[in-house]
Symmetry: C2
Subunit: 486 residues, 2 copies
């Protein structure tokens, strides 16, 4: 049992590493990242797989390197992505899931998780989305959940495509805003609809879909003899954190008989807070919703749900009656098996992570986490609004994505000519390189074509209970320090 | 830090539960399953999520129930599915992955795992598939990997479908055998090709695709003005464990210019053994391969790779140039980022589980595991061949799926009339119910339409080092015991 001895030693090492535990300790004692160039890292890691087994000592040494050179995503200064770790309840759920290693395809092999998944999905649908009925499935990430959405919508519009394929049917047309997530583009490609038939709808100055442009585009597609069938609205856009006007979009979907999907992968978590759920008013009118609990709530990947109010649709779309799994003469009611609803066959359990975190914190605890994230983000927003060198991308606070340019000393006070913007565009990559190499923090940057904005920072505030005003102050002074000589 | 205290207690409980550790102990001290009907289980589990946090005591009680009522997939008598747990190296990899919680989309956030994934995929491609060049990606399960295959093939056949959609192009036609996995049917649906355009090719008496029927079907599709583009051969079929004749299929694919995919989700692991890899002779001629390491080698879900010999194709098919992730002015070479190759955005790390198991056992250890599984399966096959009441489905041993009918005392010695078969068909469900309710073992049963076979058992032997002849003998006597009164 060399392997179990190894596991025990890895656990001991992880528990004492500081990666788990108080994020403040992590901040005080550890870098976010110890960046090494790819080719150097290849040389540092001795990955060759030999004929002979490696000793547990050797393997532990390797695990040390894995920990050392991996990004500490639970570090309070990991502000880089829409996901973030690390919740202890969730890790317990993840570890237990790994050990009970099973698939969600049938009740027979996954009794507890089948019951739990059904319960949690029902809980979300009734108490947060606001549908009386509906169903859902945990999916390996928000992109796949969004793919489910367009797939189910395609099936509802043209059920015979399942057997006959898209050829011979009218050209389907889907809609998403300029600031919607790129998974919708990938989906249009995978599902055979074609990216040219995904119409990109304009956004307003705050990054929200313009309903009039949707209405107009829809009419135009119809005039061209095409069949509009699907709108993906965004609740919490990837860069600006914008929430599309759901009620207005619902009206247009109703008018043109379109499937109304809400991609709330990032923003869905506002529904946990009575103070902020208004951002998603109208979500109850959606036909389907994507919500990633591995994003804002800080649970580990994957923890993504696809929900639809059309009970039975997932089965209707996906069932293929595999007789080796879904026998008709089972000794329990086969209707409990969830496998036929899925595009996957083996499906890893993701629900236990969410369930333990939700139950461990209680609904009130989850709400407090969300409110705290908003408070910290708003504090940061207000602070940089009045700090020299910071230039906000949006005039008003809207979500926990805070987008800003940092104008270094050499550019401060200069006129905003095209040349100024060109120079400013080079600043974020330079600062990113510095912060990454020094390992003090990680904040993403990007341009935004829809607004012709050159590179700016997007700082993401998550549900991290320990995050404090001091942390937010640190980000400001650290950026100033890094930019001193720019 | 209530959550971390909870995690520590869960770990302690898991380590002392017997779920990890010597599978022999698990067998002696624990049932495979403690089956409870779905409605009863709902009542036993008190799942309600309250406003107030649950105490760690309460949560631990719940985790006890989760463990108690979950199937012990690492138990030697879990012979039910193509997957199986539990390897200690792999669990260590899984746990470390959960704690380092990151996504494989960019090198920046996933440096170690990007380098490791690239290394392992190259190792598999060069040393086991036999391509000089190629690329791949870890995918959430074999079904999604098979979907990658048909998707990439579609793109190679008709690259403009990416932008224009399938409408307006010739009808694509794909091929898979009667015994191929149902994921190919799901894929034909999702990708917009239509399940009617997935032609089902006959199998021979051993469940292997008949090449002549493939050739004929391909010609027929062409004569109908359709465009044949994709063949999915199966290496290790789900029920009978058959290996399609890869060289002959490769010849036909070459002749008709078809993409040649090998679904080796289940059977790929034979490539780890010098004694058994001949079963997949010709795999080096494939355009793409699916291989699930969470199946035969007993690693935890997901550990599935999609491989293709066409370097650059995954990028070409999937790239959508999301500017918030794949900036062109990064401080390292963005070519290391793997996100643009994927249909997912966030992609959980699966490679560490495989890497630690492979390195911890060494190549020789992995080979021994495979050989041992073959030996145990063959021992069982030979044993039941000469044991009263057992009736083999296939005349000869071919893989570690062993398919058989159990003929109970009341039917033994009877003539094989249609009535005999009707009655025999009811036996497997009855025995399955008994073994499940008593929790002594789990073996799947199913009919097989392609051969008009009524319900029979499919016993799966995995790479489990502790599995012994005594275990195999136990299965025989246990089936006899369970069937005594039938």
């Amino acid at each position: 049992m060399e392997d179990i001895e190894f596991l025990e030693r890895v656990v001991k090492r992880v528990m004492s590493s500081g990666i788990l535990g108080n994020p403040k300790d992590l901040r005080n004692h550890s870098k976010v990242t110890e960046f090494v160039d790819p080719e150097d890292l290849k040389r540092k890691l001795d990955l060759e797989i030999l004929d002979e087994p490696a000793s547990n000592e050797e393997l532990l040494g390797l695990c040390e390197d894995v920990m050392r050179y991996s990004v500490k995503t639970g570090h309070p200064m990991f502000l880089n992505q829409l996901y973030h770790g690390l919740d202890g309840y969730c890790v317990a759920g993840a570890w237990l899931t790994d050990v009970l290693n099973t698939s969600q395809s049938t009740y027979e092999i996954s009794p507890v998780f089948t019951v739990m998944e059904t319960f949690v999905i029902r809980h979300i649908i009734n108490n947060f989305i606001g549908w009386d009925d509906g169903e859902g499935i945990f999916s390996p990430g928000g992109s796949v959940a969004n793919m489910y959405a367009m797939f189910v919508a395609r099936h509802k519009a043209l059920p015979d495509v399942k057997t006959k394929g898209l050829r011979g049917f009218p050209q389907l047309v889907a809609f998403v805003s300029e600031d919607g997530h790129y998974s919708t583009t990938k989906t249009a490609n995978w599902l055979g609809i074609g990216t040219d038939n995904l119409v990109i709808i304009k956004v307003d100055d705050r990054g929200r879909m313009v309903p009039e442009d949707l209405d107009r585009s829809c009419k135009e597609a119809k005039q061209q003899g095409k069949l509009p069938f699907y709108v993906c609205a965004t609740a919490g856009s990837t860069v600006l954190g914008s929430f599309d006007p759901l009620h207005q979009i619902a009206d247009i979907c109703q008018k043109h008989d379109l499937w109304f999907h809400v991609d709330a992968a990032w923003g869905g978590t506002v529904l946990l807070s009575r103070s902020h759920r208004h951002l998603m008013d109208g979500v109850n009118r959606a036909d389907s919703v994507t919500w990633d609990f591995h994003k804002m709530p800080g649970l580990s990947l994957y923890c993504s749900v696809f929900l639809t109010k059309w009970t039975g649709m997932l089965y209707e779309c996906n069932s293929s009656c595999a007789e080796y799994l879904f026998q008709e003469d089972k000794h329990y009611d086969g209707a409990y098996d969830t496998g036929e609803k899925s595009v996957q066959c083996g499906r890893k359990v993701d629900v236990l992570k969410l369930y333990l975190a939700w139950r461990g914190r209680g609904q009130i605890g989850m709400e407090q986490l969300v409110n705290h994230a908003f408070n910290m983000a708003q504090y940061f927003f207000e602070k940089i609004k009045h700090t020299k060198g910071f230039k906000l991308v949006l005039p008003e606070f809207q979500f926990t994505n805070i987008c800003f340019w940092y104008v270094p000393p050499s550019l401060q006070g200069k006129e905003h000519t095209p040349d100024f913007w060109d120079q400013l565009s080079t600043i974020a990559p330079k600062l990113k390189e510095k912060m990454t190499k020094q390992g003090t923090m990680m904040i993403a940057y990007q341009p935004l074509s829809s607004k012709s904005f050159p590179n700016f920072f997007r700082l993401i505030v998550h549900c991290l209970p320990s995050l404090s005003k001091e942390d937010m102050d640190f980000i400001v002074t650290e950026l100033q320090r890094l930019a001193e000589d720019l």
